[in-house]
Amino acid sequence: MKNFFAYFKKEFLENLRTYRILILIITYILFGLMEPIMYRMLPMILESEGFDPAMMGMMDTSQQGLLRSYMGNLSQIGLIVVTLTIMGTLAHELQRKYWILPRSKGGSATTLVLSKFLLYGTGLVVATLLGFMVNNFYGRVLFEYTGLDISGVLQGGMLFSLYFIFLISLLFLLISIIQKGIPSVLLTLFVSFLIFPLLNNFSSLQNFLPYGLIEESAKFFFDWSSLAPVLGSTIVLTALCLFGTIRRIKTMEIL
């Protein structure tokens, strides 16, 4: 445990000085802020460009619709920002050999990986919840929404961040195998943007893909009947990815 605190403190210090989590939080809040403003201004922009403002009717401008649109942006551009920001934390340990000296002193690969995972996982949950709340707050201010309460927003945000947490564990696994940041990021994006949507077409797999958490989060409440299998498989897959990462780092040859 003492060892874990040493690592966690080091990770915390790294974040204070490299601003990784701060970058994530700012990105999420900016996205959350931009969405309602864009929705508010879009009719005026359309009108000034000579389009019929009624075209807005084609878009879902409800409170939930605004949040879903925000989630859509996050799961695309947001995911690119997240993976690119976080990749360095593990890739540099292995690629730049920062890990050698602590390891030669008996440093534990398990503690190394788990402390990073815990810190970035927590950071992602905080960033997502803040982003969701900002989005919802400005939605309420600009559109005078009243339907969805804060608990629904937080439940949606929580499930959404769990999907990203799974992707971090996948990113860690790929980095431990490839030992390079960018190719691991590209593979993670490939899985999220292409493989999961493809597999999602198979009804037998649908209920067990972590990708299903995005759909679950869009409901804005914990629908346990459909959530349980997705959540269970996501937890198992995340644990497997972390186990694989730790195992790989433990047995890694240092040249």
Binding site: K9, K10, L13, L101, K105, G106
Partner: protein
């Protein structure tokens, strides 16, 4: 302290270590020499538990390395050739981090940090970020990290390669100080003059095998050349012909008052030389048997001459 038998290591199809054997005694400084790519770093990484090995038997401090890596890492210190640190950390923060990983409490960490920063002369720079350190400073911080846990055995991979002459001298003093504390030191370096100054025994690793393992003294004795350097008080050209009449003299080179005398048989020359030289009226300033430097020996061994 360290026993290695038939150690083998292969990377893909390339066999780096082809079955090496050596033993290092407690408190000894063991120089491990070899050309680039000979397998010195690989051997160190294996002995420190950072790399696996295909075959062989390794015992450190009486314990087999296999299955005891975590236990042995508590009595081992390792300084890699180019130690890498988190650039955003300050020197003192890094040492604190290592102290915590090594299981020290707060008070011991503070004391040890002070002690080590003074030892490696980084006290003033300790509050600066490591990213701004020079290579020499990083090497010194690496040395502090490697000896943090008072290791019984210290592995140093090219420890002085990034240091200036002053830094190198200080490093050698630190190493000798550690030897006085009975630390066993396994030293890999290209700077052969350093090896000559501090090592008790050396091994030369070449093409995956140990070609030579000997104490430095014995080695220099074995590789003595049958050449005498004689410095006379004045011009010694007139002495050449009488000396060449001796059957054990091969040839003589003269440069003003400096004479280089090559002999066929060193043992015979040892018995006769002083007697013959004393017959000349020209006084002698100095006389010495030319010794092979470690560099000469190293080149001979790796070139198979």
């Amino acid at each position: 302290m360290i026993q290695v038998k038939n150690l083998q290591k292969q990377f893909g199809k390339h066999q780096v270590l082809k079955g090496i054997d050596f033993t290092i005694n407690p408190g000894e400084i063991y120089g491990f020499l070899g050309q680039n790519g000979a397998g010195k770093t690989t051997t160190m990484n294996i002995l420190t538990g950072l790399t696996s090995y295909r075959e062989g038997d390794i015992r450190i401090d009486g314990l087999p390395l296999q299955g005891n890596i975590e236990k042995l890492q508590k009595v081992i210190g390792y300084l890699p050739e180019d130690p890498q640190f988190y650039p955003y950390m300050k020197g003192i923060e890094y040492l604190e981090y290592i102290g915590k990983i090594s299981g020290y409490n707060r008070e011991d960490i503070n004391n040890r940090n002070r002690e080590l920063l003074k030892l490696v002369d980084l006290t003033e720079a300790s509050t600066r970020k490591i990213g701004g350190y020079s290579r020499g400073m990083r090497q010194r911080l690496g040395l502090a990290v490697s000896v943090y846990n008072h290791p019984k055995i210290l592995f140093l991979d090219e420890p002085s390669s990034a240091l200036d002459p002053q830094g190198r001298r200080e490093l050698l003093d630190i190493i000798l100080g550690l030897k006085d504390e009975n630390t066993t030191i396994f030293l890999s370096t290209h700077i052969l003059s350093d090896v000559e100054k501090i090592c008790d025994r050396i091994a030369i690793l070449h093409e995956g095998t140990i070609h030579l393992e000997e104490s430095l003294e014995t080695l220099q004795e074995q590789y003595l050349q049958p050449i005498y350097e004689i410095q006379w008080e004045g011009n010694c050209s007139a002495l050449k012909d009488p000396l060449l009449q001796q059957t054990w003299v091969d040839k003589i080179n003269i440069n003003n008052n400096h004479m280089t005398l090559y002999v066929h048989d060193r043992k015979k020359a040892q018995g006769k030389l002083l007697e013959v030289l004393s017959e000349f009226s020209l006084p002698i300033i100095s006389l010495s048997l030319k010794r092979s430097s470690l560099e000469d020996i190293f080149v001979k061994v790796v070139n198979g001459k």
